[in-house]
Protein backbone atom coordinates (compact mmCIF):
# COMPACT_ATOMS: atom_id res chain seq x y z
CA UNK A 1 0.00 0.00 0.00
CA UNK A 2 1.68 3.21 -1.11
CA UNK A 3 1.99 6.11 1.22
CA UNK A 4 1.92 9.60 -0.15
CA UNK A 5 4.05 12.34 1.20
CA UNK A 6 5.39 15.68 0.20
CA UNK A 7 8.67 17.41 -0.38
CA UNK A 8 11.77 17.16 1.71
CA UNK A 9 15.21 18.15 2.89
CA UNK A 10 16.40 21.70 3.02
CA UNK A 11 19.04 24.31 3.36
CA UNK A 12 21.09 26.91 1.51
CA UNK A 13 21.27 28.28 -1.97
CA UNK A 14 23.48 28.87 -4.94
CA UNK A 15 26.19 31.30 -5.55
CA UNK A 16 25.91 34.03 -3.04
CA UNK A 17 25.99 34.72 0.62
CA UNK A 18 22.61 33.79 1.87
CA UNK A 19 23.39 32.19 5.15
CA UNK A 20 23.93 34.12 8.24
CA UNK A 21 25.92 33.81 11.37
CA UNK A 22 24.66 35.40 14.50
CA UNK A 23 22.54 35.08 17.56
CA UNK A 24 22.81 36.09 21.16
CA UNK A 25 25.19 33.56 22.63
CA UNK A 26 24.53 31.34 19.71
CA UNK A 27 25.72 31.36 16.22
CA UNK A 28 23.25 29.96 13.81
CA UNK A 29 23.09 29.52 10.15
CA UNK A 30 20.07 29.84 8.00
CA UNK A 31 19.39 29.59 4.31
CA UNK A 32 17.99 32.83 3.19
CA UNK A 33 17.57 35.12 0.23
CA UNK A 34 14.01 35.89 -0.53
CA UNK A 35 11.35 37.97 -1.97
CA UNK A 36 10.56 39.82 1.20
CA UNK A 37 11.32 42.98 -0.69
CA UNK A 38 8.56 41.74 -2.99
CA UNK A 39 7.45 43.70 -6.01
CA UNK A 40 4.10 45.48 -6.06
CA UNK A 41 1.03 43.25 -6.14
CA UNK A 42 -0.51 42.28 -9.45
CA UNK A 43 -4.28 42.76 -9.67
CA UNK A 44 -6.10 39.74 -11.04
CA UNK A 45 -9.19 37.61 -10.69
CA UNK A 46 -7.31 34.47 -11.76
CA UNK A 47 -8.22 31.14 -10.20
CA UNK A 48 -5.07 29.38 -9.07
CA UNK A 49 -5.29 25.81 -7.82
CA UNK A 50 -2.35 24.39 -5.87
CA UNK A 51 -2.59 20.61 -5.73
CA UNK A 52 -0.74 19.59 -2.58
CA UNK A 53 -0.20 21.32 0.76
CA UNK A 54 3.28 20.08 1.63
CA UNK A 55 6.45 22.16 1.61
CA UNK A 56 6.19 23.14 -2.05
CA UNK A 57 2.44 23.79 -2.02
CA UNK A 58 2.47 25.94 1.10
CA UNK A 59 5.54 27.92 0.03
CA UNK A 60 3.88 28.55 -3.35
CA UNK A 61 0.64 29.67 -1.69
CA UNK A 62 2.54 32.05 0.59
CA UNK A 63 4.41 33.70 -2.26
CA UNK A 64 1.46 33.84 -4.64
CA UNK A 65 -0.84 35.36 -2.03
CA UNK A 66 1.76 38.07 -1.45
CA UNK A 67 2.24 38.85 -5.12
CA UNK A 68 -1.36 38.64 -6.35
CA UNK A 69 -4.27 40.83 -5.26
CA UNK A 70 -7.78 39.55 -5.93
CA UNK A 71 -6.73 36.08 -7.06
CA UNK A 72 -8.70 33.07 -5.92
CA UNK A 73 -6.01 30.73 -4.58
CA UNK A 74 -6.99 27.24 -3.48
CA UNK A 75 -4.84 24.56 -1.84
CA UNK A 76 -5.97 20.96 -2.17
CA UNK A 77 -4.70 18.49 0.41
CA UNK A 78 -6.50 16.00 2.58
CA UNK A 79 -3.73 15.68 5.14
CA UNK A 80 -3.94 17.92 8.20
CA UNK A 81 -0.50 17.03 9.51
CA UNK A 82 2.53 18.68 8.03
CA UNK A 83 5.78 16.72 8.14
CA UNK A 84 9.18 18.39 8.37
CA UNK A 85 10.82 15.59 6.46
CA UNK A 86 14.44 16.81 6.70
CA UNK A 87 14.15 15.91 10.38
CA UNK A 88 13.15 12.28 9.83
CA UNK A 89 16.73 10.98 9.96
CA UNK A 90 17.25 12.80 13.26
CA UNK A 91 14.19 11.04 14.67
CA UNK A 92 15.50 7.72 13.33
CA UNK A 93 18.83 8.41 15.06
CA UNK A 94 17.17 8.97 18.43
CA UNK A 95 18.15 12.65 18.48
CA UNK A 96 14.62 14.04 18.19
CA UNK A 97 11.11 12.79 18.89
CA UNK A 98 8.27 12.48 16.35
CA UNK A 99 6.77 15.77 17.53
CA UNK A 100 9.88 17.54 16.19
CA UNK A 101 8.82 16.74 12.63
CA UNK A 102 5.06 17.02 12.99
CA UNK A 103 3.15 20.24 12.49
CA UNK A 104 -0.27 21.32 11.27
CA UNK A 105 -0.94 22.27 7.66
CA UNK A 106 -3.54 24.77 8.85
CA UNK A 107 -0.87 26.79 10.67
CA UNK A 108 0.82 27.59 7.37
CA UNK A 109 -2.10 28.26 5.04
CA UNK A 110 -1.79 31.99 4.30
CA UNK A 111 -4.67 34.36 5.03
CA UNK A 112 -6.94 34.71 2.04
CA UNK A 113 -6.02 31.30 0.64
CA UNK A 114 -8.75 28.65 0.62
CA UNK A 115 -7.73 25.21 1.86
CA UNK A 116 -9.96 22.36 0.75
CA UNK A 117 -9.29 19.18 2.71
CA UNK A 118 -9.56 16.95 -0.31
CA UNK A 119 -6.86 15.63 -2.57
CA UNK A 120 -6.56 15.94 -6.32
CA UNK A 121 -7.73 12.68 -7.90
CA UNK A 122 -7.86 13.65 -11.56
CA UNK A 123 -6.11 16.27 -13.65
CA UNK A 124 -7.71 17.52 -16.85
CA UNK A 125 -5.24 20.04 -18.25
CA UNK A 126 -7.06 20.29 -21.59
CA UNK A 127 -10.29 21.23 -19.80
CA UNK A 128 -8.35 23.21 -17.17
CA UNK A 129 -9.89 21.52 -14.22
CA UNK A 130 -9.02 19.27 -11.29
CA UNK A 131 -11.39 16.73 -9.76
CA UNK A 132 -10.90 15.91 -6.10
CA UNK A 133 -11.21 12.55 -4.37
CA UNK A 134 -14.53 13.77 -3.00
CA UNK A 135 -15.82 14.34 -6.53
CA UNK A 136 -15.59 18.13 -6.48
CA UNK A 137 -14.59 19.77 -9.78
CA UNK A 138 -12.34 22.80 -9.60
CA UNK A 139 -11.79 24.81 -12.76
CA UNK A 140 -8.59 26.83 -12.85
CA UNK A 141 -6.73 29.46 -14.84
CA UNK A 142 -3.40 28.32 -13.41
CA UNK A 143 -2.45 25.06 -11.80
CA UNK A 144 0.57 24.40 -9.60
CA UNK A 145 1.11 20.70 -8.98
CA UNK A 146 2.89 20.08 -5.69
CA UNK A 147 1.48 16.72 -4.71
CA UNK A 148 4.76 15.26 -3.56
CA UNK A 149 5.40 11.62 -4.32
CA UNK A 150 4.29 8.13 -3.42
CA UNK A 151 6.38 5.71 -1.39
CA UNK A 152 5.85 2.46 -3.24
CA UNK A 153 6.47 -0.05 -0.45
CA UNK A 154 4.27 -2.49 -2.38
CA UNK A 155 6.99 -2.84 -5.00
CA UNK A 156 9.16 -4.68 -2.45
CA UNK A 157 7.73 -8.18 -2.13
CA UNK A 158 7.13 -9.14 1.49
CA UNK A 159 7.45 -5.61 2.87
CA UNK A 160 5.01 -4.72 5.63
CA UNK A 161 5.00 -1.12 6.83
CA UNK A 162 3.12 -2.13 9.98
CA UNK A 163 6.11 -4.17 11.13
CA UNK A 164 8.63 -1.32 10.99
CA UNK A 165 10.42 -1.29 14.34
CA UNK A 166 10.13 -5.05 14.86
CA UNK A 167 12.54 -7.83 13.91
CA UNK A 168 15.29 -5.43 12.89
CA UNK A 169 13.09 -3.80 10.25
CA UNK A 170 13.63 -0.08 9.80
CA UNK A 171 12.36 2.44 7.28
CA UNK A 172 12.84 6.11 7.97
CA UNK A 173 10.33 7.38 5.45
CA UNK A 174 6.86 6.02 6.14
CA UNK A 175 5.89 8.47 8.91
CA UNK A 176 7.33 10.21 11.98
CA UNK A 177 6.21 7.20 14.02
CA UNK A 178 7.95 4.84 11.59
CA UNK A 179 11.11 6.93 11.92
CA UNK A 180 10.91 6.60 15.72
CA UNK A 181 10.25 2.85 15.39
CA UNK A 182 13.28 2.62 13.10
CA UNK A 183 15.35 4.16 15.88
CA UNK A 184 14.06 1.52 18.29
CA UNK A 185 15.15 -1.22 15.88
CA UNK A 186 18.52 0.40 15.15
CA UNK A 187 19.22 1.05 18.83
CA UNK A 188 18.49 -2.54 19.74
CA UNK A 189 20.77 -3.65 16.89
CA UNK A 190 23.49 -1.32 18.23
CA UNK A 191 23.32 -3.10 21.59
CA UNK A 192 23.90 -6.51 20.06
CA UNK A 193 25.73 -6.07 16.74
CA UNK A 194 25.29 -8.25 13.67
CA UNK A 195 24.77 -7.37 10.02
CA UNK A 196 23.07 -4.13 8.98
CA UNK A 197 21.95 -3.44 5.43
CA UNK A 198 21.46 -0.06 3.82
CA UNK A 199 20.72 1.04 0.29
CA UNK A 200 18.45 2.95 -2.04
CA UNK A 201 16.03 2.27 -4.89
CA UNK A 202 16.82 2.85 -8.54
CA UNK A 203 13.89 5.26 -8.93
CA UNK A 204 14.23 8.98 -8.39
CA UNK A 205 14.07 9.62 -4.66
CA UNK A 206 13.90 12.21 -1.92
CA UNK A 207 17.27 13.43 -0.66
CA UNK A 208 19.60 10.77 -2.01
CA UNK A 209 22.01 11.59 0.80
CA UNK A 210 19.60 10.33 3.46
CA UNK A 211 20.29 6.59 3.05
CA UNK A 212 24.04 7.33 3.14
CA UNK A 213 23.60 9.41 6.29
CA UNK A 214 21.72 6.68 7.99
CA UNK A 215 24.58 4.23 7.50
CA UNK A 216 26.95 6.82 9.03
CA UNK A 217 24.58 7.37 11.96
CA UNK A 218 24.31 3.65 12.61
CA UNK A 219 28.10 3.35 12.51
CA UNK A 220 28.40 6.18 15.04
CA UNK A 221 25.75 4.71 17.33
CA UNK A 222 27.61 1.38 17.35
CA UNK A 223 30.90 3.11 18.16
CA UNK A 224 29.31 5.02 21.03
CA UNK A 225 27.93 1.76 22.43
CA UNK A 226 31.28 0.02 22.01
CA UNK A 227 29.79 -2.63 19.74
CA UNK A 228 31.20 -1.57 16.37
CA UNK A 229 33.57 -4.54 16.40
CA UNK A 230 30.62 -6.92 16.56
CA UNK A 231 28.81 -5.38 13.59
CA UNK A 232 29.11 -5.44 9.83
CA UNK A 233 27.59 -2.57 7.89
CA UNK A 234 26.84 -3.00 4.19
CA UNK A 235 25.61 -0.28 1.85
CA UNK A 236 23.93 -1.56 -1.31
CA UNK A 237 24.14 1.01 -4.09
CA UNK A 238 21.59 0.56 -6.89
CA UNK A 239 24.17 1.42 -9.56
CA UNK A 240 27.94 1.72 -9.73
CA UNK A 241 28.32 4.82 -7.59
CA UNK A 242 27.38 5.93 -4.09
CA UNK A 243 26.04 9.31 -5.18
CA UNK A 244 25.11 10.86 -8.53
CA UNK A 245 27.58 13.74 -8.17
CA UNK A 246 31.00 12.19 -8.88
CA UNK A 247 33.06 14.31 -6.51
CA UNK A 248 30.65 13.59 -3.66
CA UNK A 249 30.53 9.89 -4.52
CA UNK A 250 34.31 9.68 -4.24
CA UNK A 251 34.33 11.47 -0.90
CA UNK A 252 31.65 9.16 0.50
CA UNK A 253 33.54 6.14 -0.85
CA UNK A 254 36.62 7.24 1.07
CA UNK A 255 34.65 7.92 4.24
CA UNK A 256 32.94 4.52 4.03
CA UNK A 257 36.34 2.93 3.64
CA UNK A 258 37.55 4.84 6.67
CA UNK A 259 34.52 3.77 8.75
CA UNK A 260 34.62 0.20 7.55
CA UNK A 261 31.24 0.33 5.81
CA UNK A 262 31.30 -2.28 3.04
CA UNK A 263 29.75 -1.41 -0.30
CA UNK A 264 27.94 -3.57 -2.82
CA UNK A 265 27.29 -1.98 -6.19
CA UNK A 266 24.36 -2.74 -8.52
CA UNK A 267 22.28 -4.19 -5.70
CA UNK A 268 18.66 -3.10 -5.47
CA UNK A 269 16.26 -4.44 -2.84
CA UNK A 270 13.45 -6.37 -4.51
CA UNK A 271 12.06 -8.57 -1.75
CA UNK A 272 12.26 -9.05 1.97
CA UNK A 273 11.39 -11.93 4.26
CA UNK A 274 10.81 -10.17 7.54
CA UNK A 275 10.40 -13.39 9.57
CA UNK A 276 13.64 -14.94 8.32
CA UNK A 277 15.46 -11.59 8.17
CA UNK A 278 16.56 -12.14 4.60
CA UNK A 279 16.66 -9.41 1.95
CA UNK A 280 16.79 -10.25 -1.74
CA UNK A 281 18.61 -7.91 -4.08
CA UNK A 282 18.38 -7.54 -7.83
CA UNK A 283 21.94 -7.78 -9.19
CA UNK A 284 23.45 -8.18 -12.67
CA UNK A 285 24.12 -11.83 -11.77
CA UNK A 286 20.52 -12.48 -10.73
CA UNK A 287 18.76 -12.30 -7.34
CA UNK A 288 21.05 -12.40 -4.32
CA UNK A 289 19.99 -13.06 -0.73
CA UNK A 290 21.58 -11.31 2.22
CA UNK A 291 20.87 -12.16 5.84
CA UNK A 292 20.51 -9.17 8.16
CA UNK A 293 19.97 -8.22 11.77
CA UNK A 294 18.94 -4.67 10.90
CA UNK A 295 17.83 -3.15 7.61
CA UNK A 296 16.81 0.37 6.56
CA UNK A 297 14.34 -0.11 3.73
CA UNK A 298 14.14 2.77 1.27
CA UNK A 299 11.11 2.18 -0.95
CA UNK A 300 10.91 3.00 -4.66
CA UNK A 301 9.37 6.42 -5.16
CA UNK A 302 6.97 7.43 -7.92
CA UNK A 303 4.59 10.21 -8.81
CA UNK A 304 1.19 9.84 -7.12
CA UNK A 305 -1.37 7.81 -9.03
CA UNK A 306 -3.48 10.82 -10.04
CA UNK A 307 -0.42 12.35 -11.70
CA UNK A 308 0.74 9.09 -13.27
CA UNK A 309 -2.72 8.67 -14.82
CA UNK A 310 -2.82 12.20 -16.19
CA UNK A 311 -1.59 13.81 -19.40
CA UNK A 312 0.76 15.91 -17.25
CA UNK A 313 3.35 13.14 -16.95
CA UNK A 314 6.42 12.80 -19.12
CA UNK A 315 5.50 10.78 -22.21
CA UNK A 316 9.02 9.61 -23.03
CA UNK A 317 12.49 9.70 -21.50
CA UNK A 318 13.87 8.81 -18.08
CA UNK A 319 11.05 10.45 -16.11
CA UNK A 320 8.20 8.77 -17.99
CA UNK A 321 8.21 5.39 -16.26
CA UNK A 322 7.40 6.71 -12.81
CA UNK A 323 5.06 9.43 -14.05
CA UNK A 324 6.92 12.59 -13.01
CA UNK A 325 5.52 15.80 -14.48
CA UNK A 326 6.94 17.08 -17.73
CA UNK A 327 8.24 20.53 -16.93
CA UNK A 328 10.96 22.75 -18.30
CA UNK A 329 13.85 22.25 -15.91
CA UNK A 330 14.73 25.96 -15.77
CA UNK A 331 11.23 27.44 -15.35
CA UNK A 332 9.21 24.53 -13.85
CA UNK A 333 6.50 25.34 -16.41
CA UNK A 334 4.79 22.38 -18.05
CA UNK A 335 6.16 21.69 -21.52
CA UNK A 336 2.74 21.22 -23.11
CA UNK A 337 0.34 23.17 -20.86
CA UNK A 338 1.58 26.72 -20.38
CA UNK A 339 -0.69 27.47 -17.41
CA UNK A 340 0.59 24.47 -15.42
CA UNK A 341 3.66 24.40 -13.18
CA UNK A 342 5.09 21.64 -11.03
CA UNK A 343 7.27 22.20 -7.97
CA UNK A 344 8.78 19.93 -5.36
CA UNK A 345 9.13 16.17 -5.51
CA UNK A 346 6.62 15.62 -8.31
CA UNK A 347 8.47 17.78 -10.84
CA UNK A 348 10.17 15.69 -13.50
CA UNK A 349 13.58 17.31 -13.31
CA UNK A 350 16.95 15.71 -12.63
CA UNK A 351 18.21 15.47 -9.05
CA UNK A 352 16.94 17.42 -6.10
CA UNK A 353 13.83 16.13 -4.45
CA UNK A 354 14.66 18.11 -1.35
CA UNK A 355 13.35 21.08 0.58
CA UNK A 356 16.37 23.02 -0.67
CA UNK A 357 15.14 22.39 -4.20
CA UNK A 358 11.68 23.58 -3.17
CA UNK A 359 13.16 26.73 -1.71
CA UNK A 360 14.75 27.61 -5.04
CA UNK A 361 12.10 26.24 -7.39
CA UNK A 362 9.11 27.99 -5.87
CA UNK A 363 10.22 31.63 -6.38
CA UNK A 364 11.05 30.81 -10.02
CA UNK A 365 7.72 29.15 -10.80
CA UNK A 366 5.82 31.88 -8.97
CA UNK A 367 7.66 34.60 -10.86
CA UNK A 368 6.75 33.03 -14.20
CA UNK A 369 3.14 32.55 -13.18
CA UNK A 370 2.78 36.14 -11.96
CA UNK A 371 4.56 37.47 -15.05
CA UNK A 372 2.12 35.61 -17.27
CA UNK A 373 -0.84 37.15 -15.44
CA UNK A 374 0.74 40.59 -15.69
CA UNK A 375 1.39 40.13 -19.42
CA UNK A 376 5.15 40.25 -19.14
CA UNK A 377 7.89 37.65 -19.21
CA UNK A 378 10.20 36.51 -16.44
CA UNK A 379 13.87 35.71 -16.74
CA UNK A 380 13.97 33.75 -13.45
CA UNK A 381 15.79 30.45 -13.85
CA UNK A 382 16.28 27.44 -11.60
CA UNK A 383 19.70 25.86 -12.09
CA UNK A 384 18.95 22.61 -10.31
CA UNK A 385 20.45 23.77 -7.04
CA UNK A 386 19.93 21.39 -4.19
CA UNK A 387 21.68 20.73 -0.98
CA UNK A 388 22.20 18.10 1.66
CA UNK A 389 23.92 18.44 5.00
CA UNK A 390 25.36 14.94 4.79
CA UNK A 391 25.72 13.81 8.39
CA UNK A 392 28.82 11.68 8.86
CA UNK A 393 28.48 11.22 12.61
CA UNK A 394 26.52 12.80 15.43
CA UNK A 395 28.21 16.20 15.74
CA UNK A 396 29.59 16.50 12.20
CA UNK A 397 28.27 16.87 8.65
CA UNK A 398 29.42 17.83 5.18
CA UNK A 399 27.56 20.57 3.37
CA UNK A 400 26.94 19.17 -0.09
CA UNK A 401 25.39 21.59 -2.58
CA UNK A 402 25.22 21.04 -6.31
CA UNK A 403 23.27 21.80 -9.50
CA UNK A 404 21.90 19.97 -12.54
CA UNK A 405 25.38 19.73 -14.05
CA UNK A 406 27.02 18.10 -11.00
CA UNK A 407 28.84 21.33 -10.20
CA UNK A 408 29.38 22.01 -6.54
CA UNK A 409 27.57 25.21 -5.54
CA UNK A 410 29.11 26.12 -2.20
CA UNK A 411 27.23 28.82 -0.33
CA UNK A 412 30.38 29.94 1.46
CA UNK A 413 33.29 29.35 -0.85
CA UNK A 414 36.55 29.59 1.05
CA UNK A 415 34.76 29.54 4.41
CA UNK A 416 32.80 26.33 4.70
CA UNK A 417 34.55 23.65 2.69
CA UNK A 418 31.89 21.58 0.92
CA UNK A 419 33.40 18.14 1.38
CA UNK A 420 34.78 18.53 4.87
CA UNK A 421 33.24 16.97 7.97
CA UNK A 422 32.43 20.00 10.10
CA UNK A 423 30.66 20.90 13.30
CA UNK A 424 29.36 24.15 11.77
CA UNK A 425 27.49 22.14 9.12
CA UNK A 426 26.06 19.85 11.77
CA UNK A 427 24.97 22.90 13.71
CA UNK A 428 23.20 24.27 10.65
CA UNK A 429 21.33 21.00 10.30
CA UNK A 430 20.32 20.79 13.92
CA UNK A 431 19.69 24.45 14.78
CA UNK A 432 18.99 26.53 11.70
CA UNK A 433 17.40 24.25 9.13
CA UNK A 434 13.98 23.83 10.63
CA UNK A 435 13.43 27.54 11.33
CA UNK A 436 14.55 28.30 7.79
CA UNK A 437 12.20 25.65 6.46
CA UNK A 438 9.28 27.07 8.45
CA UNK A 439 10.14 30.58 7.25
CA UNK A 440 10.12 29.17 3.72
CA UNK A 441 6.60 27.79 4.23
CA UNK A 442 5.53 31.31 5.10
CA UNK A 443 7.24 32.68 2.01
CA UNK A 444 9.82 34.49 4.12
CA UNK A 445 12.93 32.52 3.18
Amino acid sequence: MPITSNSTDLPAAPGRRRFIIGGAAAAALAGVATATGAPAQTQTRARVVIAGGGAAGLATAARLSRRLAGAEITILDRRREHFYQPGFTLVAAGLKGPSYVTGATGDFVPAGVRWIEESAAEFDPAGRKVVTDAGRTLPYDFLVVATGLTLDYGAIAGMDVARIGQDGLGSVYASPQAAAATWAAMSSFADRGGVALFGRPSTEMKCAGAPLKYAFLTDDTLRRRGTRGRAELIYNAHNRVLFSVPIVAEKVRMLYRDRGIRTNYEHELQAIDIGRKVATFRTPGGPKELQYDFINVVPPMRAPEAVRNSPLRWQTGPFAADGWIEVDRATLRHSRFAEVFAVGDVAGVPKGKTAASVKWQVPVAVDHLVAQIAGRTSDARYNGYTSCPLITRIGRAMLVEFDYEDNLQPSFPGVIAPLEELWITWMMKIVALKPTYLAMLRGMA
Binding site: A13, P14, G15, R16, R17, R18, F19, I20, I21, G22, G23, A24, A25, A26, A27, A28, A30, V32, A33, T34, A35, T36, G37, L95, W360, P363, A380, R393, I394, G395, R396, V415, I416, A417, E420, E421, L422, W423, I424, W426, M427, I430, V431, A432, K434, P435, T436, L438, A439, R442, M444, A445
Partner: protein
Protein backbone atom coordinates in the same frame (compact mmCIF):
# COMPACT_ATOMS: atom_id res chain seq x y z
CA UNK B 1 16.84 34.94 -6.11
CA UNK B 2 17.53 37.86 -3.90
CA UNK B 3 20.28 38.69 -1.48
CA UNK B 4 20.07 38.23 2.24
CA UNK B 5 17.98 40.87 3.93
CA UNK B 6 17.16 41.80 7.50
CA UNK B 7 13.53 40.70 7.25
CA UNK B 8 14.57 37.18 6.26
CA UNK B 9 17.14 37.04 9.02
CA UNK B 10 14.46 38.09 11.49
CA UNK B 11 11.92 35.62 10.07
CA UNK B 12 14.32 32.70 10.53
CA UNK B 13 15.20 33.71 14.08
CA UNK B 14 11.56 34.19 14.91
CA UNK B 15 10.81 30.65 13.77
CA UNK B 16 13.82 29.44 15.76
CA UNK B 17 13.12 31.17 19.07
CA UNK B 18 9.48 32.28 18.96
CA UNK B 19 8.65 34.85 21.68
CA UNK B 20 12.03 34.11 23.28
CA UNK B 21 13.63 36.10 20.45
CA UNK B 22 11.98 39.30 21.63
CA UNK B 23 12.78 38.50 25.26
CA UNK B 24 16.46 38.04 24.36
CA UNK B 25 16.54 41.24 22.32
CA UNK B 26 14.88 43.09 25.21
CA UNK B 27 17.39 41.60 27.66
CA UNK B 28 20.34 42.61 25.48
CA UNK B 29 18.91 46.10 25.06
CA UNK B 30 18.27 46.45 28.80
CA UNK B 31 21.82 45.33 29.63
CA UNK B 32 23.26 47.82 27.14
CA UNK B 33 21.14 50.68 28.44
CA UNK B 34 22.10 49.84 32.01
CA UNK B 35 25.79 49.70 31.09
CA UNK B 36 25.66 53.07 29.30
CA UNK B 37 23.68 54.65 32.13
CA UNK B 38 26.17 53.46 34.75
CA UNK B 39 29.07 54.69 32.63
CA UNK B 40 27.52 58.12 32.14
CA UNK B 41 26.65 58.37 35.84
CA UNK B 42 30.20 57.49 36.87
CA UNK B 43 31.72 59.57 34.05
CA UNK B 44 33.84 56.64 32.90
CA UNK B 45 34.65 53.03 33.62
CA UNK B 46 35.58 51.85 37.11
CA UNK B 47 38.59 49.51 36.71
CA UNK B 48 37.83 47.33 39.75
CA UNK B 49 34.26 46.74 38.67
CA UNK B 50 35.35 46.13 35.08
CA UNK B 51 37.78 43.44 36.18
CA UNK B 52 35.03 41.57 38.04
CA UNK B 53 32.72 41.99 35.06
CA UNK B 54 35.44 40.51 32.88
CA UNK B 55 35.77 37.54 35.19
CA UNK B 56 32.04 37.02 34.83
CA UNK B 57 32.48 37.47 31.05
CA UNK B 58 34.99 34.65 30.96
CA UNK B 59 32.46 32.38 32.60
CA UNK B 60 29.75 33.69 30.25
CA UNK B 61 31.85 32.90 27.20
CA UNK B 62 32.55 29.37 28.38
CA UNK B 63 28.89 28.92 29.29
CA UNK B 64 27.87 30.05 25.79
CA UNK B 65 30.13 27.46 24.16
CA UNK B 66 28.93 24.70 26.49
CA UNK B 67 25.34 25.73 25.86
CA UNK B 68 25.77 25.48 22.08
CA UNK B 69 27.45 22.10 22.39
CA UNK B 70 24.57 20.91 24.55
CA UNK B 71 21.76 22.13 22.29
CA UNK B 72 23.46 20.59 19.26
CA UNK B 73 24.14 17.30 21.05
CA UNK B 74 27.82 17.71 20.23
CA UNK B 75 31.10 17.44 22.09
CA UNK B 76 34.42 19.28 21.80
CA UNK B 77 35.84 16.38 19.77
CA UNK B 78 33.38 17.29 17.00
CA UNK B 79 35.15 20.57 16.35
CA UNK B 80 36.73 19.85 12.97
CA UNK B 81 38.09 22.38 10.49
CA UNK B 82 39.31 25.95 11.08
CA UNK B 83 35.86 27.40 10.51
CA UNK B 84 34.63 25.37 13.49
CA UNK B 85 37.23 27.04 15.70
CA UNK B 86 36.23 30.42 14.33
CA UNK B 87 32.63 29.59 15.22
CA UNK B 88 33.64 28.55 18.74
CA UNK B 89 35.55 31.83 19.09
CA UNK B 90 32.54 33.83 17.86
CA UNK B 91 30.25 32.07 20.33
CA UNK B 92 32.74 32.60 23.16
CA UNK B 93 33.19 36.30 22.34
CA UNK B 94 29.44 36.88 21.94
CA UNK B 95 28.70 35.18 25.26
CA UNK B 96 31.65 36.87 26.93
CA UNK B 97 30.98 40.43 25.77
CA UNK B 98 27.28 40.09 26.55
CA UNK B 99 28.03 38.93 30.06
CA UNK B 100 30.64 41.68 30.67
CA UNK B 101 28.19 44.38 29.64
CA UNK B 102 25.37 42.90 31.72
CA UNK B 103 27.56 42.21 34.77
CA UNK B 104 29.13 45.68 34.72
CA UNK B 105 25.71 47.27 34.43
CA UNK B 106 24.22 45.25 37.27
CA UNK B 107 27.21 45.75 39.58
CA UNK B 108 27.17 49.46 38.80
CA UNK B 109 23.45 49.78 39.42
CA UNK B 110 23.91 48.10 42.79
CA UNK B 111 26.94 50.38 43.37
CA UNK B 112 29.00 47.34 44.16
CA UNK B 113 32.76 47.36 43.75
CA UNK B 114 32.92 51.15 43.75
Amino acid sequence: MKELDVATFLAVFQEMLGPLLWALIALAAAATVLFVWVMLRDRGLRPRRLVWAEVAGLAGGIAAVLFMLAVTQSQLADIGGPVDWVLVAVIFVAGGVGTVVAAYGVLGALRHLA
